[in-house]
Subunit: 111 residues, 2 copies
DNA sequence: CTTCATACTGACAAAAAGGTTAGTACGTAA
DNA sequence: TTACGTACTAACCTTTTTGTCAGTATGAAG
């Protein structure tokens, strides 16, 4: 275990800035399998508001984790996919699942 | 890659509830090496407010990730340590560091 | 009797995040 | 001309999160 000094720019904070918040990881995860349109993402994450979805997608694109592809058709067709960097959050998500399972197992036994 | 369905209780959301937010992971990380007193934690995480530190410690204890040990002395001496479940977030933090490094490397090269 | 050190509480305020709703742009097709 | 479907914007509001600051309790030590 290497040490992390808690400064304004430490790895934990960097990652939190990039994928922190209620929605970003959920969106990224949905895009892992294949590119999706806005309307498709809305279906996969039923309780996100349209505004948040668009807003979060925009920041994901700006920070280089996602790509927006505009087909220039009418009615509009826009597809979101992941960059290599975006794909790199998958191990993180896997760890979160692992932790969640561990937690639930522990807590069921102990109350 | 197993599928995660985005419902009200999915592993991603569970983990976010437990360790999401600006401070919890930073606090947990500081406690990895050894138990610390409140005042020691404050030094390690200089920009957290005392209120947030106490508040987050309380929720970490309530959710079973940390332990509060009161020595019953005066002036007060209280020590915070991790449960096994609390320790289980270390791989998650390691993944965050890994991701942050990967991200920074990519972004320095591409702008 | 006053001061000290430490952990903690509570009232309040500011800031950030998230949500709701109405509206825009655009070619197509009726 | 009108309605349609899709992605997106903007104004406004509510909720959640975070921060500030002034206290409280305690026994020891001066």
């Amino acid at each position: 275990m290497k040490s992390i000094r808690i400064t304004n720019r430490c790895p934990i904070r960097t990652t939190l800035e990039l994928v922190g918040g209620k929605w970003k990881l959920l969106i990224l995860f949905q895009l892992m399998e294949k590119p999706l349109r806005l309307s498709e993402l809305k279906k996969q994450i039923p309780d996100i508001s349209e505004k948040m979805l668009i807003q979060e997608l925009k920041t994901l694109v700006e920070s280089g984790l996602a790509i927006r592809r505009n087909f220039g058709e009418v009615p509009p067709r826009v597809e979101y996919s992941l960059t290599d960097t975006g794909r790199a959050v998958l191990p993180l998500i896997e760890e979160m699942r692992h932790f969640a399972l561990f937690y639930e197992e522990k807590m069921v036994k102990k109350g």
